[in-house]
Symmetry: C2
Subunit: 525 residues, 2 copies
């Protein structure tokens, strides 16, 4: 499998004509071959037209056909073998075990969506039978199903080169919904993207699906991404990345003649609340768990715990000391890209230079080209409440401890937080009342609330919510991880008194797909 | 029940300070007392703050408490008696039977949402139990429920003074979701709004709910509405009205530091396709049904059939002749407001002056102050395809027939339509193949597809979709009529490993509310 450095448009591999992208090995700073010449606006148009052409056939595949396609993608990714892992290691600096785990997660995610497609809950079938004798007016037969929105634009994320990239959660859920996908690959891992892109191409061919079901574009800068979102065939956008990148796509999508939804997962500092009893009973153990979570993947997770909130006192001092010691011992890890590293250094510098912030500890300096040197800082609640910059995400292994005068101030800090992906409570039995006070605040701030765990490590399951109020995401009504992610790409259509021959199969009386339905307002399994 | 002309903020009635609004009897042109002095930005802030204060208590009412509240509102509206109908007749020019029917629909809608609250499907409970022995990593307990977004701003619509106004579908579904509501009453029917607003106030008091659960504001111009949408406490917006009004609110909501969803139902011309066999077999009967639908409520429905599409020929000529005769006989009906009447006259004039459009017939001229004189026009598909202004909604009893060269041109016209609330097929058995060709196009254009009926008359039920792609609505993923409307005001929250004492009651193991749940991906009733 030699990398070709080409765009994958439908079943073709095409050379781009624009500025070349090269991956850089972040551990060594060495530029990796081949060059990926960026696509043009014409390439965007071609991919989007193919997706549009594919849509009607792809969206009416049977549940079984679509599920088999998702499983075929997983099998094709696995069949790439170690080539994929090695290329991803070179492009991201991430260790082998992490990438093998991420591959497992990616393929597991595709297979989960295959099971979700088969179960058919996403169809949200609702049948209100005719009531010809109702007074004063009869009711006619009304049936509803969900249909896919149309072709979807997906932006690969730098921090999950497999699980949130070409065949990641956005792609898997959009394809599961019945939407063709055009991916803009992340410029940091084009080789990994090409390998996975070819795997999807092969699955499309093996399953005899229209070629426009999937395309993969490359391009530097924001131009190609903006063109993709502005293209009239595109009907929704999945994005994981920076707040500035996400809000730029939101603006483009809203400025279209026909605005479309953007699902952007952007910025979160994932507050952790240390409640008094837990802090007293096991502050040191909590500190260890905290630093382990903070150091995971060099803190390059949307769910990294960037904020710790607690009442000041000797227990918090002891926690800070223990956490600081652990930070000092933390080995540097290679960051994903030169750009991520630079932004991290900038963010840490801004914290360190803030007069109201004290440095507790820094981790070990690194010897690779782009090392993440961990950091722990502390500030007072009053300073935090008066300085919005202290809520800015520092993407990497750095966290800020906010010391509060009392539990009332803890609540004030919680209430002033921006929207978050997660909020964590470290609590013991004696903290229950305090936790009950905080919960209503946290529910309005975050998509996921944890007790006595750590926010890193996002389970791919049915109850997961990887979402949250702005700016954590652009749409708090949705999740980008877990089976409910499919609902982002669907809309309801009602069919009134359609003859049997015209009614979509899923809505037929006999329930041919055997799916759960709401009949006259009653749930039938 | 003397009308006071006041704002209802929480449990208080407060005099506004801004420009006075007077309702006008559209049939007579007579100004109606009392004056409603508009609210100030301070009044908006006060109402929104009260809503925010009410939110946490209101959202955690039990299913039974919340359902009983919705039923109490219905009972209070009915208890107003004929005073409500007479005031609404005077303010809107709508006939008694229509308003009595609309009152029934409004109260039925509230009771439907009471049943929806009790059934608890809206909670979307998902439980993924812990798997402590899973390899390579254990899974912790994960549970999801939906919670309400927060306080909601609702804009009363002119054309449904009860069913889409102060206690209409948006209010009912937002309250059902657990969101306090601040209504901006429509300036055309302030007296009707005040009567219904007091009914809701009484229900709030009787159910011992926090007063901020409901407020009602009045104000002329767009200023108060924009202030309401921009207020940081507001978390979603329900609106039914013009395209310009809806898109202005969308822009305001997107420009907030924290953007919020706007559910604007705006503009639809509701195409009706006359398929060849049906047209041949029963063109005259279809013409009668069409004109009856067009004349209903003086065409002042979002679902009025403003466009008819068919293949040209003697059958279509006969249809147009029959429909034209029916239009000529149509008596004028009073329109809702001077503004609606003026916009209608303007729209008809624009059609009549289009060189590619031919007038088929006009209805009888009216003798009231603001009569709707029905209109039927015809054009060729080529002209329609080349002139986007022919897709502009004319709000009132006017429709345009588009004559196509063949069925391929019918499909081209369908494909070029903007987003619609509805699309209708008039078809016989022999038209099935033609209908099957059109269906995939229409599914992407409309929220509801009908066969052999008429789009006016929107059933309030579980399978209804009153929504559709832009510009029919701002968010095609939703419906503003029917039980699924509740989902507009909800977002998912995941609870990870929370101790039983902290877990929201609905998520407890014992399923205390007895609602349908998704457990480990399997539906349980």
């Amino acid at each position: 499998m030699t990398l070709e450095g080409k765009l994958l448009i439908g079943q073709q591999a095409i050379s781009g004509q624009q500025t070349a992208i090269h991956a850089v090995n972040p551990a060594t700073g060495v530029t990796l071959e081949p060059a990926y010449l960026g696509g043009s606006k014409k390439d965007v148009e071609r991919a989007c037209e193919l997706a549009e052409t594919a849509f009607n056939a792809y969206r009416e595949t049977s549940l079984e056909e679509r599920a088999a396609f998702l499983e075929a993608i997983a099998a094709e990714i696995e069949a790439i073998g170690d080539t994929l892992i090695e290329r991803a290691m070179a492009e991201t600096g991430l260790p082998r075990a992490r990438l093998e785990g991420e591959r497992g997660r990616t393929c597991g995610q595709l297979r989960l969506f295959a099971s979700v497609v088969r179960a058919g809950e996403w169809l949200d079938i609702r049948i209100d039978p005719a009531l010809p004798n109702r007074e004063p007016l009869p009711r006619t037969d009304l049936r509803q199903r969900h249909i896919p929105l149309g072709p979807v634009a997906v932006f690969g994320a730098s921090n999950f080169p497999l699980a949130f990239s070409v065949a990641g959660g956005d792609t898997a859920s959009a394809l599961a919904a019945g939407c063709p996908v055009v991916v803009k690959g992340h410029s940091a891992h084009p080789g990994t993207s090409e390998l996975v892109g070819h795997a999807i191409q092969r699955a499309v061919a093996k399953c005899s699906l229209p070629e426009g079901t999937f395309s993969l574009l490359f391009g530097s800068g924001r131009e190609i991404g903006q063109a993709l979102v502005a293209n009239p065939h595109m009907q929704a956008v999945g994005f994981t990345g920076s707040r500035s990148g996400g809000t730029a796509l939101m603006a483009t999508a809203q400025a279209r003649p026909q605005p479309i939804p953007v699902y952007a997962e952007m910025s979160s500092i994932n507050p952790v609340f240390l409640l008094p009893e837990a802090l007293k009973a096991r502050g040191k153990a909590i500190a260890e768990g905290f630093i382990a979570s903070l150091n995971m993947g060099a803190g390059q997770f949307c769910t990294s715990p960037g904020l710790v909130i607690a009442v000041q006192g000797p227990e918090l001092d002891a926690f800070v000391e223990a956490a600081g010691s652990a930070v000092k011992e933390s080995a540097a890890q290679t960051m994903l890209t030169p750009g991520v590293h630079e932004a991290y250094e900038q963010g840490v510098k801004q914290l360190a230079q803030n007069a109201q912030v004290t440095e507790v500890a820094r981790g070990q300096a690194g010897e690779t080209a782009h090392p993440c040197q961990a950091g722990l800082f502390v500030t007072q609640a009053e300073a935090f409440l008066n300085d919005a910059t202290l809520q800015e995400e520092v993407f990497g292994s750095t966290s800020l401890v906010v010391a509060c005068a009392d539990t009332a101030e803890v609540a004030r800090v919680a209430a002033q937080l921006e929207g978050q992906l997660t909020a964590t409570l470290q609590m013991d039995d004696g903290d229950l009342a305090a936790a009950q006070q905080l919960l209503p605040i946290l529910e309005r701030k975050a998509g996921r609330i944890l007790a006595n765990g750590w926010p890193t490590g996002v389970e791919v399951c049915h109850a997961m919510v990887h979402g949250g109020p702005f700016p954590a995401t652009s749409d708090s009504r949705t999740t980008s991880v877990g089976s409910a992610a499919i609902f982002r790409f669907l809309r309801p259509v009602c069919y009134q008194a359609l003859p049997e021959g015209l009614l979509p199969k899923a809505l037929n009386d006999g329930n041919p797909y055997g799916v759960s339905r709401l009949v006259d307002g009653k749930r039938e399994v």
